[in-house]
């Protein structure tokens, strides 16, 4: 039978188990539920949860084994019989145990705690799955293609008939270049906006400006991508790149960088806002007391005190910029180049992951598998930046707490 039907039957068994368990508890108690250790519903839940959890685990385990060892189970017959039998057995065992002193509540709470622990371990499973899936395919890739050529190659020209050059450096260069321009836009604007909002702005300006910046943070990246493609790109091309004779393509490092910078403004400003607000007021008061103006206080007291936190915020923003995909896919172009001209189209790691993995993919060819190697590089890069940034921010917070 199909999995959905099996699941429904399992639910029915549990529901019946609940009713039966509760009924037995009522009859055991002889009409006075106070003689029981646990409240009546717990006896019902005890049976229902046992049946459901055991049946479900058998189903999940079975499909995992099937995927790992690749055997077939026509019509799901074996798994149906196995899981339903296990569910009935588990339900029956707990049903048979019901008596006055049976600690049904403790058993139910233990099972629920198990569910809670399982739910929180999903985060670990996700990380493991990410790392394993990418490592697995990456080792396949490095079997066909030397890792030195991948990490230090200066040329990227995939060729689906074989003999490709898959050097990562042009992509890495594009990624870093775009991120650098994005930070060049986002850090001063975000930082000054945060300083003004937390140190100068009155409640009215804050009530207007803060939500505006937050809207900027809530806009999906595809919107920024489209903005880069249809507005910023053509403007930069027609008014800057072409008249200056630098390049003539709408998609460029500059386009993607500026738009990504706009995307990162609220990110930088809200992080720095938190950090600036965490600087104790006493430090400001001390500075004012010595006769410093507000801007001198900010420049010479607040910022130096908040510097580690701000550096952490910038690193977090850099990690976001490196991992950003849609803006560069739509704004930066697809040509892998090592060039200094910011108006030229270049490409990034994320763009190439998308282009190697969409369309017809053949998971035996290095041209497809290279995406996994790029993916793990990206993962390690952003993870490293995040860990570093969080470490810095945490240490800074402790300093004033």
């Amino acid at each position: 039978m199909p999995g959905g039907v099996l699941f429904l039957i399992l639910c029915t068994i549990s529901a019946v188990g609940y009713v039966m368990g509760r009924r037995k508890a009522v009859s055991v108690s002889g009409g006075d539920s106070r003689v029981m250790h646990s409240l009546l519903p717990y006896h019902g839940w005890n049976v229902a949860l046992a049946a459901f959890l055991v049946g479900l685990s058998v189903m999940v385990l079975w499909s995992l084994l099937r995927l790992l060892f690749g055997f077939t189970d026509p019509g799901n017959n074996i798994v149906s019989v196995l899981s339903l039998a296990a569910a009935l057995l588990a339900g029956w065992t707990n049903y048979a145990r019901i008596e006055r002193n049976y600690r049904a509540r403790n058993v139910v709470e233990l099972m629920m705690k198990g569910i809670l622990i399982f739910a929180s371990s999903i985060a670990i499973f996700t990380t493991i799955a990410i790392v394993l899936s990418m490592l697995f395919e990456t080792t396949h890739f490095f079997r066909d293609y030397s890792w030195t050529r991948f990490f230090f190659g200066l040329k990227w020209s995939p060729n689906f008939s074989g003999n490709s050059d898959l050097g990562m450096l042009p992509l890495l260069w594009g990624t870093l270049y775009v991120s650098f321009i994005a930070l060049l836009v986002a850090v001063p604007i975000g930082l000054f906006a945060a300083i003004y909002l937390s140190e100068y702005a009155g409640p009215r300006l804050r009530a207007v400006a803060k939500p505006m910046l937050e809207i900027l943070a809530g806009i999906p990246t595809i919107v920024y991508g489209l903005f880069a493609l249809i507005t910023v790109g053509p403007i930069l091309r027609d008014y800057f790149a072409q008249p200056l004779g630098l390049a003539d393509s709408g998609s460029s490092v500059m386009t993607a960088g500026i738009v990504m910078g706009v995307m990162l403004i609220p990110f930088v400003s809200s992080l720095s806002d938190d950090i600036i607000n965490a600087v104790p007021q006493a430090m400001r008061d001390g500075s004012y007391g010595l006769g410093a103006t507000p801007s001198e206080t900010i420049k010479q007291v607040v910022i130096p005190a908040a510097l580690p936190g701000i550096v952490g915020a910038i690193l977090l923003a850099a990690s976001r910029a490196i991992g950003e995909t849609m803006i560069v896919v739509m704004g930066a172009g697809a040509a892998a180049k090592l060039s200094l001209n910011p108006f030229e189209a270049m490409t990034t790691v994320t763009v190439k992951i998308v282009s190697q993995l969409t369309g017809d993919t053949d998971f035996a060819s290095p041209e497809t598998l290279v995406a996994f190697a790029l993916g793990i590089t990206l993962f390690v890069l952003t993870l490293g930046l995040n860990v570093l940034a969080l470490y810095i921010v945490r240490r800074y917070r402790e300093q004033y707490e």
């Binding site: 929180s120 809530g218 489209l226």
Partner: protein, 449 residues
């Protein structure tokens, strides 16, 4: 002695509080400059938001309007029902291709009717003024109403995308002269048709309900499948991420002892929140499609990937909501004999619910706008058929709203840019509604202790 006193007096006078000295002036100027930088930064941010919105709106609003040509079509019995028996099966044998001549003829008649004698106008130009979608529309009508065969029926057909663009200002006479897909003569005829009321531009509901259309028919493309696919994915994310996220947060916030396992989980969650979304796409491709053999471009895979992506967001906000419930509530429940589990589920969780829901809605909004991971699991495919009703529909191919936007931008015809911006407007409206809901929930129900 006297001299010294005099000198002191003059120097004191020079630095009077009533007279700003050079240094103070400089300091004040620097202060003003600093404030100006701050204000400029805010202004730049707000200006960027305004330009972004203006650009999307001005490009996208035309997508909600469409030009239609109204004409009478003679449904000739000998073409549509060659056997003359009105048998639906026989009528269905006439393919869409067979309907094109009828439309061509009707268009030609219409042009002749309004006296559209434009020099240089060829039959081909006249035929091309009507969308290629029209034949299919006609065929569907005939199959639905076989008894109309032989009569003359009034139809509203989509005008070709370039003609439509002419009335929206995207195509001008100058650009038409250079474009091989449209000619100035066609625009003259279109003007004449409009003058006589045979052609009108009006609100385009079909944009919201139609499926995507192929490269040559931008005028027929809609985002119906994309909206449905996004809705399916949101259902899956809500159904999985909310219970799992809440369960995980309850464990971490209320039960977990501080040990190495809890530490690992916490570090993991904060790192997962910062992992680039495209990495989740790689995960989905490797695990859900290559390993578990779930179908490509299906909402179920998209939903699972987005669930894993939103979980950290939901867990972080749920933990904050649980943390904000004061300990006195827990102590009171424990004090009258409730178990730890009862305390949490009967007292803490209900009080934290508004905060949890707010966080969930914000997580969902994030998932709704996410594009990159969906590209990798095959949602860029061209999907013309609506997925079935859930739960089977979860396994049918579908696309998602942001992916549809990306898809539109990859086409050559500029009319698709308009569609892309229109789809973005719809996406932003959904996001606006969700965020407004979150704000209302927070304002109305959240308790401050």
């Amino acid at each position: 002695m006297t001299d010294v006193t005099v000198a002191e007096k003059t120097s004191k006078h020079a630095s009077s509080l009533h007279q700003t000295d050079v240094r103070t002036k400089r300091r004040n100027a620097s202060e003003a400059r600093f404030r100006f930088y701050g204000l400029t930064a805010i202004a730049v941010g707000v200006f960027a938001l305004i330009v972004l919105m203006a650009s999307i709106l001005s490009n996208g609003i035309p997508a909600f309007f469409q030009t239609y040509v109204i004409m009478n079509v003679d449904l000739k019995a000998d073409v549509l029902d060659p056997k003359g028996n009105r048998d639906p099966d026989d009528i269905a044998k006439v393919m869409t291709f067979g309907y094109t001549p009828l439309i061509n003829e009707a268009t030609k008649t219409l042009v002749a009717e309004i006296g559209g004698e434009v020099p240089g106008l060829t039959d081909k130009m006249v035929n091309n003024m009507i969308s290629r979608e029209a034949a299919g529309q006609l065929r569907r009508f005939v199959l639905a109403h076989p008894d109309e065969i032989g009569k003359t029926v009034k139809f509203e057909f989509l005008a070709n995308g370039r003609i439509d663009g002419y009335f929206k200002g995207r195509v001008t006479r100058e650009s038409a002269a250079l474009d091989s897909n449209v000619s100035v003569e066609q625009l003259d005829i279109a003007d004449a048709l409009k003058r006589d009321g045979h052609l009108e531009t009006r609100f385009n509901f079909a944009f919201l309900t139609n499926p995507d259309a192929s490269d040559q028919r931008p005028e027929a493309a809609g985002i119906g499948v994309a909206i449905l696919g996004s809705a399916y994915m949101m259902l899956i994310v809500l159904g999985l991420a909310l219970p799992i996220g809440v369960a995980a947060s309850i464990y971490l916030e209320e039960f977990a002892k501080t040990n190495w396992l809890t530490d690992i989980i916490e570090v993991n969650i904060s790192n997962l929140a910062a992992v680039p979304s495209i990495v989740f796409g790689i995960l989905g491709l490797a695990i859900f499609i290559n390993f578990m053999h779930l179908p490509q471009s299906a909402p179920i895979v998209g939903g699972l990937v987005l669930t894993l992506m939103t979980l950290p967001t939901i867990i972080i906000s749920t933990r904050a909501a649980l943390k904000s419930v004061p300990n006195s509530i827990r102590d009171a429940a424990l004090g009258i004999g409730a178990s730890k589990m009862q305390t949490v589920f009967h007292h803490v969780l209900p009080l934290a619910m508004p905060g949890i829901l707010t966080g969930t809605i914000i997580g969902l909004a994030q998932a709704l706008g996410e594009t990159a991971p969906l590209l990798l699991i095959g949602m860029v495919a061209f999907v013309k058929d609506f997925p079935a009703a859930p739960p089977e529909g979860f396994f049918d191919p579908a696309t998602a709203l942001p992916v549809q936007v990306y898809n539109f931008t990859q086409r050559s015809d500029p009319a698709f840019y308009e569609r892309a911006s229109g789809a973005i407007i719809v996406l932003l409206i959904f996001l606006l509604i969700m965020n407004a809901l979150a704000i209302v929930l927070r304002r109305r129900f959240e308790r401050r202790w």
